[in-house]
């Protein structure tokens, strides 16, 4: 009896204790969007490992011990909730949809992936961001919007900008990123209408670009064009009309300033003249540009159609220039059966570029110079044109009259381009997809140049003489045609079971390109445009030429994407590429890559906190390659048509051959290895998001055109293409975006990105430092590529001041008391004797003077919406890059014009400048005088728009109408005294301004109408 009582008491006390210390909570979890119960919701007791999940009916039951008071409810796609239990025993929870975790889908190579699953470094720019800007190609429009991507453009209409992703990596001139337009690989998107683009995905690091293997070295830009949308026919019309003008012109001296300078420089005054010509004003103008786009789209559940027509007209800022382009696009998709899908994207572009030249070559008559070069050098004391007669600049100073340079010939380039791809996708099983895509790109261009006949007499010029003339008119016509096809076959397997999510992609691609061109010219063709055909010319003066090019590539690739529990990510890629451009012993190369990711914010231990809405860490390593060398780089070819007239003029010449190119028969792939690690985060209900990314990129066996010693053999351009160096880039990219919806009427975003990059040459493959940047005059080589320094660093004499008097010159002595610059005069530069040998030697006394690569480049983009108004501003800038003012440096004659600034600030006995020399006739040594800071900040785009309220529009049967005003390149803040600090070029000799096209500013207005 007592035992039973004791037992009961014990049990009771235990029970009472249990009652005091633990309790059970239960309830049901439903979704706020549909009110349905959610099975599988994780419920954890905060601060412990204890947890449970909801059952099929969304119901749960959990035991809490004493002191445990908080439960955390989480489920993918919904916002986590933290609930204080208090005394309640039943807690029903309603979970809200989590907008940030709604999977943004990104196009990666040969497929799509959820943004959260990506382990590589990619960036995305939406089509609306691109269309807002009045630019020719979409590439120009991404300037400043993507961290790590530097866009360097020239203002010439019809020209494509140069792209550098994460520092100068691949080392060949003109190499751009790989563009993939709807699966078709191409190098040139100037025919793509920006309005046709849905978005652009930029694959920046090696691991994401590795799927493209040999072409991923400078990043990959994947462009997706618009598709039709299910529903009734939707029509939209967009236009954009504005003015373009030259921005940041350099002010040149006027006649009075010029006369003073020339008197001081050469000792004799120029001839008296009543003219005061502003040459840039003569050849430049404000230009119209307009774009119009109409888009029709419609679809059913079986098929979607999209048809776009676009027209662009751009007068260049140089007189007589005009560029016109018409593009047609037809995209459609058909669902043939449930399992078979067929799609077709096709576009046709037709463009005409008239007088769009930057350069008129020196011809046999000595007609000299490019228009811009001549405009820089021509003296203001010569008239441009008066009563139909041109001022004769070449009689006075050996420079062509820039206005006549433009007017004495007529160029027309017509281009047709048909580009498209078609795909067939078969899904025999839910987990298996087979896709075959064939893309083609056919281009045809016709180029006609007519050079007028004119003499250097009083019929053409105010004063006869000089060497700007053409004794006989000449018509040159050339035509080229190229075709490129790409064929991909891909198999994708997709399996999701338990917590494993696996996608496997296996496939092959093949690609081929063929080009063939020919040209013909004849003299004595009349000046009437209707007679500009080769047949009209004098057959006795007929010349012709022709050639072609061809290459092929073949690849095998595989990619595995694995996600465990939606938190742990792995991507592995391997690709084997073969290219016909490399010798057979080096033809094939394997490019592997691997990427890992961890979405920390989905971890259980992160569910309680509400600081991070998203925290993801990723790291990757990959290898990509580059084979973009000319197809004849490793084959010894014989140059023909090297004749000699063994009997003088009495008999025709005998034709001969030369072997005049030194080649590297063992040339091989250039490979880029990259390591990347990053944190992506989101705070404050994803109002503040961003990314911090560190990368290290090594380019091995960089392909460079190296100057060679002339004694090595006969080579016409004295350059050899070889794997010459290894280059390293490492840096940090930071992106921050702030989006805030203050109330229903006002929301705004601020986003900024900054990239810091450091470039260094780490190896020269046993060779000597590579000198480059030879620009003529007395400059010699201005850049050097050497171990430990950035590629293409400026390497010049160091100017430490200006001699003020003969005593100054005498006082500049070496350790032994000998004058270092004995032949210097007051007003000449004082150079630093770097090696201390008492002599200024232009080889041995050079110093490193910075690099054209910026230390940092950044973009800031602001956008705001207030009621029906929208506003956006984007800024872009570079810091820390140097520019070489080549225009100033190649001045070789005392009669060349000078910049106004030099006319005023030059050294004189009464103005003892220490930074400008006395008036001189040019031919100066390469020195730090010509190296200037290229840091700049530019207002890239400023747009204001107003969307009409739909109530107003219903009356006119328009569904949407927005009007806007926009400006491109509105204002640039820069230190550089030349035209532009953005100078595309070859990596070993970039950043040198020689005959650059001035940048342009555009101000435009337009409307977006939806019917």
């Amino acid at each position: 009896m007592r035992k039973i009582l004791l037992l009961s008491f014990l049990l009771l006390s235990l029970g009472i204790e249990a009652l005091a210390q633990s309790r059970t909570v239960n309830g049901q979890v439903t979704g706020a969007d549909d009110g349905q119960p959610i099975p599988g919701v994780n419920i954890i007791v905060q601060g412990t490992n204890k947890g449970t999940t909801t059952d099929m009916n969304g119901k749960y039951s959990i035991e809490l011990a004493a002191g445990e008071n908080v439960l955390v409810y989480t489920f993918v796609g919904y916002k986590a909730q933290t609930i204080e239990v208090g005394q309640r025993e039943v807690i029903d929870v309603v979970l809200l949809i989590d907008a940030t975790e709604l999977e943004e889908v990104v196009v990666v190579g040969y497929g799509i992936q959820k943004k959260s699953d990506i382990t590589g470094s990619t960036a995305n720019v939406k089509g609306e961001e691109l269309t807002k800007q009045p630019v020719l190609t979409a590439t120009q429009a991404i300037q400043g919007k993507v961290a790590g991507v530097q866009i360097i453009s020239s203002g010439q209409p019809g020209s494509s900008p140069q792209i550098r992703v994460r520092g100068v990596s691949t080392a060949l001139a003109g190499t751009t990123s790989l563009y993939v337009v709807d699966g078709v690989l191409t190098d040139d998107i100037s025919n793509i209408n920006t309005a046709d683009i849905v978005d652009m995905n930029i694959l920046k690091d090696a691991s994401s670009a590795a799927i493209y293997g040999s072409r991923g070295a400078n990043g990959v830009i994947i462009i997706t064009t618009k598709k039709g949308v299910e529903g009734a026919i939707k029509v939209t019309y967009n236009n954009n009309i504005g003015i373009r003008q030259a921005a940041n012109l350099v002010e040149m001296a006027n006649s009075a300033e010029y006369n003073n300078y020339v008197q001081a420089a050469t000792g004799s005054a120029p001839p008296a003249s009543s003219y005061d010509t502003d040459w840039y004003n003569t050849i430049l103008r404000n230009a119209w540009q307009q774009t119009h786009n109409i888009s029709l789209s419609s679809g059913t559940d079986k098929a979607t159609y999209l048809f776009n027509v676009g027209y662009l007209q751009d007068q260049g800022i140089v007189i007589d220039n005009e560029f016109k382009r018409l593009t047609l696009r037809f995209n459609n998709e058909y669902k043939i059966t449930d399992k078979i899908k067929f799609g077709l994207q096709s576009s046709y572009g037709n463009s005409i570029n008239e007088n769009g030249f930057g350069n008129i070559n020196i011809d046999a008559y000595g007609n000299i110079g490019s228009v811009y070069n001549d405009a820089y050098r021509a003296a203001p004391i010569i008239a441009d044109i008066e009563n139909g007669l041109y001022g004769n600049t070449s009689a006075y100073q050996n420079v062509g009259n820039p206005l006549l340079d433009v007017k004495n010939n007529s160029v027309k380039v017509k281009e047709n381009r048909l580009q498209g791809s078609t795909y067939l996708e078969v899904k025999p099983l839910t987990w298996l997809t087979f896709r075959s895509t064939i893309g083609g790109d056919w281009r045809n261009s016709l180029n006609r140049l007519y050079e007028y006949q004119f003499f250097n007499d009083e019929n053409t010029f105010l004063v006869a003489g000089g060497n700007q003339y053409r004794a006989q008119s000449k018509l040159s016509v050339s035509q080229s045609q190229s075709f490129r096809w790409v064929w991909d076959n891909m198999i994708t397997l997709y399996k999701k079971f338990d917590k494993h999510d696996i996608t496997l992609l296996v496939g092959t691609t093949a690609e081929e390109y063929n080009l063939h061109w020919f040209s013909a010219s004849r003299l004595d063709v009349p000046a009437d445009p209707s007679l500009w055909y080769i047949g009209v010319g004098d057959a006795n003066t007929s010349q012709n030429a022709g050639g072609g090019d061809a290459w092929a590539r073949n690849s095998y690739l595989a990619r595995l994407n694995y996600a465990y529990n939606e938190k742990y990510l792995l991507t592995a890629t391997v690709r084997r590429d073969g290219s016909s451009r490399l010798p057979s012993q080096n033809r094939w190369q394997v490019y592997p890559s691997v990427g890992l990711g961890w979405i920390m914010s989905r971890e259980n231990f992160m569910q309680g906190q509400n600081i991070f809405d998203l925290l993801k860490i990723r790291a990757s390593y990959g290898k990509v390659g580059n084979d973009q060398i000319p197809t004849n780089a490793f084959t010894q070819t014989v140059a023909q048509n090297k004749p000699y007239p063994y009997s003088g003029y009495t008999t025709p010449s005998t034709n001969g051959d030369q072997i005049n190119q030194l080649i590297d028969p063992n040339i091989t792939w250039e490979t880029t290895e990259e390591f990347d690690v990053a944190i992506e985060f989101a705070f404050l209900q994803s109002k503040l998001t961003g990314e911090l990314n560190y990368y290290k990129k090594n380019v091995n066996n960089a392909l460079i055109f190296k100057p060679l010693l002339v004694t090595w053999g006969f080579d016409l351009d004295h350059l050899i293409l070889t794997n010459a160096a290894s280059i390293q880039n490492n840096g940090i990219e930071a992106v921050l975006n702030w989006t805030d919806k203050v109330n229903d009427n006002f929301s705004y975003t601020i986003s900024g990105n900054v990239t810091l990059n450091k470039n260094k040459v780490v190896d020269l493959n046993g060779g000597l430092p590579i000198y480059s940047g030879g620009i003529g005059a007395a400059q010699g080589f201005t850049t050097i590529t050497d171990i430990g320094q950035p590629i293409g660093s400026f390497y010049v004499l160091d100017v430490i001041g200006v001699f003020n008097s003969a005593a100054d010159v005498a006082a500049y002595q070496d350790a032994d008391g000998n004058m270092i610059q004995p032949s210097a005069n007051p007003g000449d530069f004082k150079y630093r004797d770097k090696d201390g040998d008492g002599v200024i030697d232009i080889n041995k006394d050079k110093v490193y003077a910075g690099s054209y690569q910026p230390v940092a480049y950044f973009g800031l983009n602001l956008g705001a919406n207030f009621k029906n108004w929208d506003f956006s501003l984007s800024l872009y800038g570079n810091v820390g890059n140097e520019v070489y003012n080549g225009k100033k440096a190649v001045r070789v004659s005392g009669t060349d014009n000078i910049e106004k600034e030099i006319a005023y600030n030059r050294w004189t006995p009464s103005n003892k400048s220490q930074s400008e020399p006395a008036a001189n006739s040019g031919n100066m040594y390469a020195s730090t005088y010509f190296v200037e800071s290229g840091s700049f900040l530019r207002i890239n785009n400023l747009t204001i728009g107003y969307t009409f309220p739909s109530s107003l529009l219903q009356k006119i049967k328009i569904s949407s109408l927005r009007v806007f005003a926009t400006s491109q390149n509105l204002f640039t803040l820069k230190k550089y005294s030349g035209f532009t600090p953005e100078l595309p070029g070859d990596p070993v000799s970039s950043g040198i301004e020689l005959s650059s096209y001035p940048t342009t500013r555009t101000i435009a207005m337009g409307l977006n109408v939806g019917f």
């Binding site: 004794a471 010349q543 057979s584 007239p645 009997s647 003088g648 051959d657 030369q658 072997i659 006969f714």
Partner: protein, 525 residues
């Protein structure tokens, strides 16, 4: 259910197989030959064609660019640099680089010195390549020897120019196998001493002497035995005059023997009219030993760029006429005063612009009239560079050019002619105390309508060389050879000439840099 699965698997396999078949591109797919690229194996006459390509390198005239052998840069360093000529044109025109060459203020960055260096090495490289190809060529022994003789003649001539311009230079006699080979062999980047270069030239030219045919066997533009003998004689003459030569008389004997062989061969004689020598009618005449040929190719003039147009009379002042060129290479008063009175050669060498105030103008041999000095930039021009577009009474052009409208008309360059051989023979004879120097000199004086001389001295011969070969690219090097360049220059007003420096051109700075400083600069530059 199961059935369907099997079918589906078969379907999958079929697709995979098809994919595999379609895209199993063979390696052939990637074997794409260079389009339009003729390779060394497709041309059966490669060796002969390379020989023609080598002659083509003698036409290089890209003075501001890739290479110059006989263009404006060549004119600058052989003529403008001497006491016989000054820059010309306007004061500021080409002040750099030509003005610098004229005034001896040139530096190692001089563009013309650089293009002469690369132009000659372009030719030397082509010669080495051609020799390598000739060795393997499937042609007869005799043809091989003839062609190799021609190639070695040209190589010897190019090195002769180089050693006269720069002194010792890298002696490159083979084609490098690859870049590593070229950068590891010092022969490509270290300057051989001048005497070693002379030895190599002698070997090359001797082979040419031994293997080339006589004049008239092949086309006149090809090198001949006589050309090789004359060139070799000249080389020996320069070597003999070198103060470092321990045994000059041995070389003078060679000069005498070689020139004697040319004289006694009977293949050459003096042209009757001195004035016609440099005109088109005088191309490859009886006096010509070796000329750089020009003509026509591909419906246009085939010429040395800028050779004629840079020396043509230039409009200036009041203007009003369509001029003939850029106006460079003006004969100096010093040259004018060197002629004896009555010397026919003066009027055939120098165009004198009418500065009398009478406005008569100057009428040239074909009737072309140049206005008087108030419409012309300079006062004197090189007559030997003149090309004519005038027509004869029947309407046929006096000189034939494919493209006469182009001011830069072709002109053959007379590298060696019989008068030069006679004078070398005379000079050797005086040194050795044998032969008939008076006879040789008087043949030349007679043609110039001058009284004969007896007991000619070296100074007389040098005087005769001066006026006979004036404006023919011989003067500057000859002055340096004679050893009194400084005195003569200073007397002519070129007071910047520094002995021990300005006899040679500076080695181009960019090449020194590219060689990693293995190339050494000439003294005092």
């Amino acid at each position: 259910m199961k059935m369907k699965r099997i079918v589906s698997i078969k379907f999958v396999l079929l697709i995979t197989l098809l994919t595999g078949l379609i895209v199993s591109c063979t390696d052939d797919f990637l074997d794409v030959p260079v389009q339009g690229g003729v390779s060394t194996s497709t041309d059966p006459n490669l060796a002969q064609d390379l020989v023609t390509g080598l002659y083509n390198t003698l036409l290089q005239g890209d003075s501001w660019g890739n290479g110059d052998v006989h263009g404006f840069a060549f004119i600058s360093v052989t003529s403008i640099m001497s006491d016989d000529a000054s820059k010309g044109s306007t004061a500021t025109d080409q002040a750099i680089p030509v003005g610098d060459i004229d005034n001896f203020t040139l530096t190692s960055t001089n563009k013309f010195c650089e293009s002469l260096w690369s132009g000659h090495y372009n030719g030397i490289g082509a010669a080495n390549r051609t020799l390598a190809e000739l060795k393997k060529a499937a042609i007869s022994e005799s043809q091989k020897k003839q062609l190799m003789g021609e190639v070695r003649f040209i190589r010897g001539y190019l090195y002769f120019n180089m050693v006269r311009m720069y002194g010792g230079v890298p002696l490159v006699l083979r084609v490098p196998v690859n870049e590593a080979d070229a950068s590891s062999d010092p022969a490509f980047s270290v300057r051989a001493p001048a005497l070693q270069v002379y030895d190599s030239i002698v070997v090359d030219l001797q082979y040419a002497v031994d293997n080339l045919s006589l004049k008239g066997v092949y086309a006149p533009g090809r090198a001949t035995k006589g050309a090789a003998q004359s060139m070799l004689a000249k080389v020996y003459m320069y070597r003999a005059s070198n103060p470092a030569n321990p045994n000059p008389n041995a070389d003078w004997q060679k000069v005498y023997d070689l020139t004697d062989a040319v004289i006694t061969s009977g293949n050459y004689s003096l042209a009757t009219d001195y004035a016609t020598i440099w005109r088109q009618v005088g191309d490859n005449n009886n006096e010509s030993i070796f000329e750089i040929q020009t003509g026509e190719f591909d419906n246009s003039n085939l010429k040395i760029d800028n050779y004629t147009v840079c020396q043509g009379p230039r409009v200036g002042g009041l203007g009003g006429w369509n001029d003939l060129g850029w106006g460079f290479n003006n004969p100096t008063p010093s040259l004018l005063s060197a002629y004896e009175p009555g010397d026919l050669r003066k009027a055939s060498t120098i165009i004198s612009i009418d500065n009398s105030g009478a406005h008569v103008g100057t009428v040239l041999w074909d009737g072309f009239r140049i206005p008087s000095s108030d419409s012309v930039q300079n006062l004197f021009y090189n007559y030997k560079a003149y090309t004519s577009t005038a027509l004869d009474p029947s309407g046929k052009p006096l000189e034939e050019f494919k493209n006469p409208g182009d001011k830069d008309r072709p002109k053959n360059i007379r590298i060696l002619r019989y008068a030069d051989v006679l004078l070398m023979n005379a000079e050797a004879a005086v040194h050795l105390g044998t032969g008939d120097p008076d006879g040789k000199v008087n043949l030349i004086r007679d043609r110039a309508d001058l009284a004969p001389k007896g007991g000619v001295t070296i100074a007389d011969i040098w005087q005769e060389r001066h006026v006979e070969l004036a404006m023919e690219h011989d003067r500057f090097w000859d002055l340096v050879r004679q050893g009194n360049a400084e005195a003569v220059m200073h007397a002519a007003g070129k007071t910047n000439f520094v002995a021990g420096k300005h006899e040679l051109l500076p080695i181009p700075n960019s090449q020194i840099l590219l060689s990693g400083n293995q190339l050494t600069q000439n003294p005092n530059y």
